[in-house]
Symmetry: C2
Subunit: 426 residues, 2 copies
């Protein structure tokens, strides 16, 4: 897409990245991507945009952040759905997800953090310690949350290295919890306003809500198209669309995803699939899959199945609910934001029946033949809920397979065998 | 202490315990106790009370609970310091700790809960599933809390089997967190009042606060005596005193512990120790040790060291702070309870610098030669803080050893070797 390759090394050097290690990382991710994504046949043409974004994920996009900051803009990094992009944008900032999807620097991480920590947390700290994440390097502020024991403690360590603001997420969903979370949002807003020097107004907040809602609507359209048989897009490609939503420029991304959704609608009308109509359809639920973690999708789809939905933070939890933008004051809009975010069914809440309901509903709506319940090793919350998920699926006679894994390639053979056996059984 | 052995089997049968399994449990705990405790020489005479309590922990004490309930009393079980005994007593109930200190029923537990769950949580569920804990069988209500990911999810499962009330514990200690916790205490109070049918009055609350403060003062006296060289009581015996505090009748226990403290003061004055003055003095910090988990203390003291303090929930976190009982209204007393409990430095809080300060202060005050930082396997919170604890100890040139273990005897040899090497190095 670019006429001549741009050399981003001077920019990365300016960001303090460890250049040889960073080159090695990009090389590895490039090969992983080629093997997982570019080997697919008959992909929607709209995926070429996401191919491009991935090829420039540490290049052009970082250049955009870099230029934005050079012009006085502020970038806010986060790892979690509960950090509202709407507030960051309304204060004039840009929101980015941070690197957390690959095994990097674990040896250094394990010197300051327990080995028995999930790969996602180890990865974000590993990327930071080995200085290979340009997103965290471009972040003027990292907003953390208290969603799980591991992240809660990891932010304490990160705060020694970066400017960090931790929001306290309640653990239940009663009215007093929503009120508490709303107050956390007010504190976050004030912190963001101080950072950017721009007050959040009703107008800026309404506009930010509308923009982020539009992004989520585009993803809802892509998700809805996957209900068709044959599914018009691979699970891997759809997952990538959600992963990129955390990084990309919002209006541009929304436009490109709506174009992709248009194409998917046409493919559905034409009965054109990313896999044969006979391919077994799998719903995945569980721990989020941060870019470039496509491991499970790749295994399933190379085994002849197709992933038709993700009940996860890099999936339906990200896009299936919108913020009500009908209010006219900052206070009322803050209420709407608090209500929407507290309606996400993360396993950090107790009880969390809403997630079970979501899984069963999605399995029905997406005509899933089976569910794969995915947890990263040592993710205590999703591992614990896996027993409830299994019971609920069995009660509805939906076959279910539990997978616990990490980012390494060591168990690929074993997982492939298990997934193949599961698909055959469906 | 009893003239004739009483047969409690009819009572245990009435409670629905699994009698053969329960007999096996009592036999095993009895042997463990004999091996760890009764092999000690020159123990304070006051320990005979605790020997008796342990010998009757599923007998006479359960009979007392049983009789109390038969007369209309209500028993409330819990697993955590953050459940205020003061409120339970003020509503006319009795508070008991629940069985969680031995490996029992883990095979059954792992059918409904991840294998990678800490031994304490697995144990409480294992005791419940195998029906060998008379305390939970006598509990009219179990009060849970959201202190860690594992317990938060475990209470969801327990709620299928028992009446459970979960209190939400905040994760920070700002004024809004204290206010939030205070409201949780109000909800708990209302739940307890509904259970017992007795309203909490300023008078009943003041009395309960005074009684529980007196209990904590007695334990403070025992703790203070341990600063002497030689230490007048073994760590094992002192740990047992704290463990029993969760189960025993409050005024009786307080009286007996004050008698024990008097004796310890006399021993200190006479220079009489539970170990030679040359024994290396160890402060233990970390995950709570529920009765009958004396594993680490036993290893250290059989290796010739002496444990002089426990910065843990079964240690200083339990007794080192009192509730201010000077207020005259229920509302003001509730403020005081909230303030005291939110001042406990559990690793569930972020940040948790107070715990580091406590550890260093205790090491100084108790003249510790070294610190052993103890975490149950898969206790993410204490394992994460262990890196901070280690750094803080090293900065003060206090030798520190990190131990991660569980309730099994499998690693006894390896742990003994490590502890012996550590003591030699001190």
């Amino acid at each position: 897409m670019t006429d001549a390759a741009v050399d981003y090394h001077p920019m990365w050097a300016e960001l303090g990245l460890d250049l040889p290690t960073h080159d090695a990382l990009l090389g590895a991710v490039g090969s992983m991507y080629a093997d997982a994504y570019l080997t697919q046949t008959d992909r929607p043409e709209g995926m070429s945009y996401l191919d491009f974004v991935v090829s420039e994920v540490h290049g052009l996009r970082i250049k955009e952040l870099h230029d934005f900051r050079a012009a006085g803009g502020k970038v806010v990094g986060s790892f979690c759905l509960y950090v509202p992009e709407e507030l960051i944008r309304a204060a004039g900032g840009w929101s980015v997800g941070l690197c957390a999807g690959a095994e990097f620097g674990f040896e250094q991480v394990e010197r300051i953090m327990p080995r028995n920590t999930c790969a996602l947390i180890k990865a974000f700290m590993g990327f930071r310690l080995t200085r290979v994440c340009p997103y965290i390097a471009e972040s003027d502020l990292v907003v953390g949350e208290t969603t799980c024991d591991g992240k809660k403690k990891a932010y304490e360590l990160l705060a020694d290295l970066q400017s960090v603001h931790v929001m306290e997420l309640p653990q239940m969903k009663r009215p007093q919890d929503v009120a508490f979370f709303r107050q956390e949002l007010v504190e976050l807003r004030e912190r963001l306003e101080a950072l950017t020097g721009r007050p959040v107004t009703a107008e800026s907040l309404k506009q930010a809500i509308a923009e982020v809602n539009d992004k989520r609507r585009a993803l809802q359209r892509i998700a809805a198209a996957r209900a068709a048989t044959p599914a018009p897009i691979s699970g891997k490609d759809a997952l990538l669309a959600t992963q990129v939503a955390f990084y990309d420029d919002v209006p541009r991304y929304t436009q490109m995803m709506n174009a992709l959704a248009d194409e998917l609608d046409a493919r559905v009308a034409a009965g054109r699939g990313a896999a044969p109509a006979t391919a077994k359809r799998v719903l995945i639920t569980g721990t989020p899959m941060a870019l470039p973690n496509w491991k499970l999708h790749d295994i399933i789809e190379k085994a002849g199945g197709i992933v038709v939905g993700e009940e996860m933070c890099t999936g339906s939890r990200y896009y299936d609910k919108l913020v009500d933008d009908s209010a006219e004051t900052v206070d009322d809009l803050m209420d709407a934001i608090a209500a929407k975010y507290m309606d996400i069914n993360c396993a950090c809440f107790t009880p969390n029946q809403g997630r079970i309901d979501d899984i069963l509903r999605m399995a029905r709506e997406l005509n899933a033949d089976g569910i794969i319940d995915y947890a990263l090793n040592f993710c205590a919350l999703y591992a614990a809920e896996s027993f409830t998920v299994e019971k609920a699926a069995q009660a509805e006679s939906i076959p279910i397979l539990k997978i616990e894994t990490d980012y390494s390639a060591e168990d690929l053979g074993q997982l492939s065998t298990r997934v193949e056996a599961f698909l055959e059984m469906l």
